[in-house]
């Protein structure tokens, strides 16, 4: 796993989480877990991101924001929901303003469970996302080629 010849650039968006998962996401970048050894870069820019890392549930206020962030990302892209909040709504599920998990508004590909999700699990989720990203990249290349020929 050490030599993943890819460069997943991650956009981290914090929905209505308790910030527990966000701390864990940032912990992935610290010397202990060092996500950059897989080429993972935490960009703040949807235009440059490949993987959308979303923590916390969706509420009526951030629904549009999440949709827009997803739309701003160029294809191919992968969405990872981190923590049970992002997966299903979690502990906040029954709150009056919570719509549910991230998959209520955008298609989620990888679900990372945990409350809070452990850094190991998050990195594993991203590595799985990278595999999916590679597959989609191949598809995207084929698509572009077809477009050019047509």
């Amino acid at each position: 796993m050490y030599k993943v010849k890819k460069s997943p650039w991650v956009l981290h968006y914090d929905g209505s989480s308790c910030n527990g998962c966000d701390i864990e996401v940032l912990a992935c970048l610290t010397p202990v877990y060092d996500a950059e050894r897989f080429g993972i870069v935490n960009t703040g820019d949807p235009m440059q991101a490949d993987i959308l890392l979303i923590t916390g549930g969706i509420n009526s206020q951030n629904e549009a924001v999440v949709k827009q962030l997803y739309d701003q990302m160029p294809r191919p892209k992968v969405v990872v929901a981190v923590g049970v909040c992002a997966c299903t709504g979690g502990i906040f599920k029954d709150c009056y303003n919570i719509l549910g998990g991230a998959d209520k508004v955008i298609p989620v590909d990888i679900y990372v469970p945990g409350c809070a999700a452990r850094p190991q699990a998050i990195i594993d989720g991203i590595v799985q996302a990278v595999e999916l990203f590679e597959k989609r990249l191949e598809k995207h290349k084929a698509y572009v080629k077809k477009e050019k020929e047509a």
């Binding site: 010849k5 460069s7 060092d34 050894r37 235009m47 160029p74 191919p76 995207h140």
Partner: protein
């Protein structure tokens, strides 16, 4: 071999190999930075994987003209380097470099995104900050050699740095701005998260960002060659010496990058101007006195 042929070989070598050298330097930078932070760091060739990926992604650009402006940026930087390695006028090189920077400014202004516009205006301030030192470097070379021709500057008996120590330090100082290293990475940062997202590159995705990155590599190679120009002389043994000094300067830049925090633009402006005037200015003044 005729001198024209050597010049052409130099230019072709620069155009072909500079991106590889630049990318490798970038990889070394990321590796050393990671080690300084007690991390393992990405593989050495990571910058190439990044650019490779960027070329394959879907192109979303806010305005069509951005791609054209970025290509012009790339072209002018390549022209700068090519002129440098052809041994032409150093003053002209510097002017073409500034022209290239203008194209970058426009490329991020046309998008009208607030983040990239702020990044662009900060880029302009950076230019105001480093330009005096760059010009004084050219003047310094002229005072020592009596010519702006790079080929004549490079073929001195004694290395230029002997006469231009102050100018050298000032140039290395502004190199931090040019290479977008902390504490002067105010227009855009290599590190994650900044108060203005990605600053000047905020609206550049996919292919456009790849162009930008490759241009940076070309530019870095050119800038480091400028550093080498201080060392190089008639003696062929000065060439490994120049490489050693360039490597050392690059390491120092990485070290500064890792142990300083970003500063405000006005502090940067004051600091660079004071350093440029105090070191490069006094150096040139003394040279002029001696020449009399």
């Amino acid at each position: 071999m005729s001198s024209t042929l050597i010049k052409i070989i130099c230019i072709v070598c620069y155009i072909v190999f500079a991106p590889f050298v630049g990318g490798l330097l970038d990889g070394i930078d990321r590796k050393i930075s990671a080690r300084m932070q007690r991390r393992v760091g990405p593989p050495l060739l990571q910058p190439f994987y990044d650019v490779g990926k960027l070329f394959n992604k879907q192109v979303i650009s806010v305005t069509k003209s951005q791609g054209f402006l970025l290509l012009s940026y790339l072209l002018f930087i390549v022209l700068t380097g090519a002129m440098f390695f052809a041994g032409t006028d150093i003053l002209l090189c510097v002017f073409v470099l500034s022209t290239a920077a203008m194209f970058l400014y426009f490329a991020s202004c046309v998008t009208s995104s607030p983040y990239s516009t702020i990044g662009a205006s900060r880029e302009l301030i950076q230019m105001i900050a480093y330009e005096p030192a760059v010009l004084m470097t050219c003047v310094g070379f002229y005072l020592v050699r009596g010519s702006f021709e790079i080929s004549s500057i490079a073929s001195t008996k004694v290395s230029n740095i002997v006469f231009l120590p102050g100018v050298f330090v000032a140039f290395v100082f502004i190199l931090t701005i040019k290479m977008r290293k902390s504490p002067f990475d105010i227009s855009t940062a290599h590190h994650a998260h900044q108060e203005i997202v990605k600053g000047i590159t905020s609206e550049m995705g996919a292919r456009n960002l790849a162009f930008f990155t490759v241009t940076e590599w070309y530019e870095n190679v050119f800038l480091l060659s400028m550093v080498g120009l201080f060392i190089i002389n008639k003696n062929p043994w000065s060439i490994p010496g120049a490489f050693a000094v360039v490597a050392l300067v690059y390491f120092v830049e990485i070290l500064i990058d890792n142990c300083s925090a970003r500063i405000k633009y006005f502090t940067m402006l004051k600091l660079t101007w004071v350093i440029s005037l105090a070191l490069a200015g006094s150096n040139i003044w003394i040279l002029m006195l001696i020449r009399k």
